[in-house]
Symmetry: C2
């Protein structure tokens, strides 16, 4: 992962620079020309001096091996921040106020335990680190603290320890990255099915620590449903939950650790529920006149028990944006988005229903299963949609989405080169409050952006659906306020969070709390006490990832 953006230095994913892209960015944000791609030299990045002295380095090195205790510039830079828009803004300024004083790579659970004991003795703070893709400030050293900060990178704890094909579980070390995990499971014909957008660069431990949810959560469940048991090394000892499918021996201790964001301990391994890998992925799309129509049908689909791997509803703004930004042709990008053969028929149907691309809502359905299962599912979905005012757009857009589903963060780098604000935020609520929440958050963001004096586009989708509600995922694309981009971002972020809380929704559906959401969780005092007392129990010295979550 490159230190100043997303993906590796070798891979460059770019906007198509087509007429459609240009027209869209010009019309919405006044971008006339594409700026040249940025280059950043690591040498130019300034970090504070490491406070790790010889003695500390020797102690840590004695535990993990000299080569796995790092205080060099590159390692410290790579572990200084997560990957939020705010993080990339700061790193592009080439001056960071904080960075870990040392980065260590333990090779075993025992080394993790020894590291915690050592750090406790030395009164150092510990930041557990997986893929470092936090977008809520989850991995950066706490501001204003004088403590030495040791970041524990789990990258060497990346083994698949066991696959139990009978119980369909895998016991895996926490530092394994998404692609490696899927590849190892795939060799045996299995999948975890957990695909967050950060999939390529995030780890099992990170997913568990942040209560991550994958794009196919409808079929597989969020990470809290995929974890059967886990091992967490805390300063007070190791917690290992029972390897059982379900238990009624008191409150669920595992659920006290899933989502704990490193403040209770270091997740070192987990047993996860796996499934037979699907034989076929079939993704197709429907067009609706507006978001409300699309949402209503999506809700009915999910509540009817039809459970595709993915149901995703984009609002009018998002459909228009993704057609334009994904198009290699001209116009609005719409005409390239369906197969030439079917285009005429589809256009005729759209017109008849008063649906006007690109300003339409789209419903993406993804099926992942055996051929038989997918055939059955397709029938169910088509039957459910038969009476609705919608048009089947076919597979072209569906499979384009599937192929590019991890690309958005790559494009952010180029958008930032063009001085654009690019951010996302998400929440969840019940179906009956979903549209009101959607409207309120959009309004709050637009009002805040106007206050900052720069134009913004907000587009939205629903991609994690439940019988009782859904998540809302907002993408923000705005013109950067060059004088104070971080201030601009905070103004918008806070306004969105306030609107979310005012609607009784949750501050995060799957990004976590980190530093950025701490002030806006809206926890009642007694709830806050429950979480802080758990911390006091497991981490009495307060050394674990201070300044996050609580």
């Amino acid at each position: 992962m490159k230190w100043w953006g997303w993906g590796s230095e070798q891979i460059r994913k770019e906007l198509p620079h087509s007429a459609a892209t240009r027209d869209y960015l010009r019309a919405k944000l006044g971008i006339e020309e594409f700026a040249p791609r940025s280059e950043f030299k690591l040498d130019a990045l300034r970090l504070p001096e490491s406070r790790a002295d010889q003695a500390l380095v020797a102690r840590l090195g004695a535990i993990v091996g000299e080569e796995n205790c790092r205080i060099d510039h590159r390692e410290r830079a790579l572990h200084a921040l997560g990957k939020s828009y705010k993080d990339l803004l700061r790193v592009r300024q080439l001056v960071l106020e904080r960075a870990p004083d040392a980065v260590v790579y333990p090779r075993s659970e025992a080394e993790v335990a020894a590291l915690l004991a050592c750090c406790r003795e030395l009164q150092a703070a510990v930041v557990p680190f997986g893929g470092g893709t936090s977008v809520v400030g989850g991995v950066e050293p706490e501001a204003g603290s004088q403590r030495v900060v040791v970041t524990i990178d789990l990258a060497l704890l990346n083994r698949v320890l066991a696959i139990d094909e009978v119980s369909q579980t895998a016991t895996v070390e926490a530092g394994i990255f998404g692609p490696e995990l899927e590849s190892r499971l795939g060799e045996r014909g299995f999948t975890l099915g957990h695909y967050p957008q950060s999939f390529e660069f995030s780890t099992l431990g990170g997913w568990i620590a942040t209560r991550s949810s994958g794009q196919n959560s409808l079929a597989y469940g969020g990470i809290e449903k995929l974890v059967e048991s886990l091992r967490v090394v805390t300063p007070q000892g190791t917690v290992e939950t029972l390897h059982v499918p379900r238990r009624a021996d008191g409150p669920d201790v595992g659920q006290m650790l899933i989502g704990s964001e490193g403040v209770y301990g270091v997740i070192v391994s987990a047993t996860v529920r796996i499934r037979r890998a699907p034989a076929e992925c079939d993704y197709f799309m429907y067009a609706f006149k507006d978001f409300a129509d699309g949402l209503a049908i999506a809700r009915q689909l999910v509540q009817s028990g039809a459970a595709p791997a993915l149901v995703r509803v984009s609002d009018e703004e998002e459909t228009a944006a993704s057609l334009a930004l994904g198009s290699r042709g001209g116009g609005t990008g719409w005409r390239n988005a369906v197969r030439r053969m079917a285009r005429k028929a589809i256009e005729w149907r759209l017109e008849r229903l008063g649906i006007r691309p690109p300003a339409m809502s789209t419903l993406l359905i993804g099926l992942e299963g055996t051929l038989d299962e997918n055939r059955r599912q397709r029938r169910l979905v088509h039957a459910a949609l038969r009476g609705a005012s919608c048009v089947n757009l076919g597979r072209t857009l569906g499979h384009r989405w599937l192929e590019t589903r991890f690309d958005l963060p790559y494009l952010r780098d180029e958008l930032m080169d063009n001085h654009l604000l690019v951010d996302t935020l998400e929440t969840a609520t019940t179906w009956n409050r979903l549209f009101a929440l959607y409207a309120a958050v959009r309004e709050a963001i637009h009002r805040a952006a106007a206050q900052e004096g720069e134009p913004i586009v907000v587009f939205t989708h629903v991609s994690h659906l439940y019988r009782d509600g859904a998540s809302l995922y907002f993408s923000l694309l705005g013109r950067q306020k060059r004088a104070d981009p971080i201030g601009q971002w905070w103004t918008i972020k806070r306004a969105a969070g306030d609107a979310i809380r005012a609607q009784g929704a949750v501050i995060s559906h799957h990004h976590g709390v980190g530093q950025d959401h701490r002030a806006q969780t809206g926890r009642a005092p007694v709830e806050q006490q429950m979480l802080t007392q758990l911390k006091a129990t497991l981490d009495p010295a307060g050394m674990m990832n201070p300044g996050k979550l609580l």
Copy 2:
């Protein structure tokens, strides 16, 4: 509910007293004649004097209304114990060592809060009480404590506060009983789908407090999946979790309260996920040569994604016992268990596969859905079983099970009249360890029973299935050791629990911990600390249901 057994005094459910029943009980346990049914007079039951003085009664009465603060003999007797075999043994001795000093019926959440404040001031212990059907000593006053005990019965908090048909949720007070809740939801075309065996006499709050699981958990999930949010009055204030389908704002506070068995506070209401009530219930049964065969197929069914409402596999002992104890005819009960028309063909098929009723394993499948859904499901199930060595027994036994599924606890009273030990216990583990666990627990029970010198029959089923494992439910039917029936029960219970823990399984799949399992949870010290520190946070005076869970 009658104070000395199960069900109301008006309803008598009896064994068929048929030739099959008699032969079975004679052969297995040496029971020659049915004893006359017992009668117990409440006046004859001796309880310790209530320690509630005038001042306390006045204080409590001022909160809940005089008529809702009870210290009479009947109320104290009804709230003195749960409904385990051990409890019924004790109550039949007509002397109880402990009973609550007062029983109060709050009418609102505010009254619950006021009661806790009052009890805290008066240093009284509080026992929250739903239906009182605990089989693990969850509702009886703590032994050896001098504190006054106030039992808070939630029976008047039984309103359905809201039904949200769009989000398919219902907000319901915790004291509502199963049938009332289903009836209220049914009026609107919905169901919660939660049917524990205690369904008729247990409450929503009790289900949540004990992490209950219903007979159709395969389709609906255990109670922890059905609860969207809840309100719990603790001595430190009320916790209300967010009404959202999913959240990633830290560890799941709701899951810290589900299964808390009254030791953290009083669950006063919850929002639960509901569904359209099924149009049709279709239950049918297959015969297998042995339990291992039946389990293998059940596992494949669940892992294939076919999710009927119920899959239940009985071992050979259970099949034989339920055929005999449920039969109104002679022989082994087997010939009455299938439709006369089909009998010849079925017998021929069984013989061909070497399956010898009644010593066979049976697989019960229950479908609950629309006619279309059930047709689809039936096809899936039949397809999955086509290649297996099994015989379709049809619907007779399936629907007999459905009609009598809440009856077993009623029959216990009559079996106890015949001086039989009648108990059940349950656990869960992953599929790869299931059969070993089954064998180990059976062996432990048989060894312990032999040590106590009385014969015992152990029969087993698997009825809560997951992709990664299943529960095991053991029913025990033995001859009572008349000299010390409670000692006999403890010997067997402890042996079973030790075997469960030695196999790495969980001490309870859905009964909870209460008093009886406290010594055998096998919690690591750090896990125990997490739970006790949460208690210290929410209940610093240690007044909530002392002596349970922790």
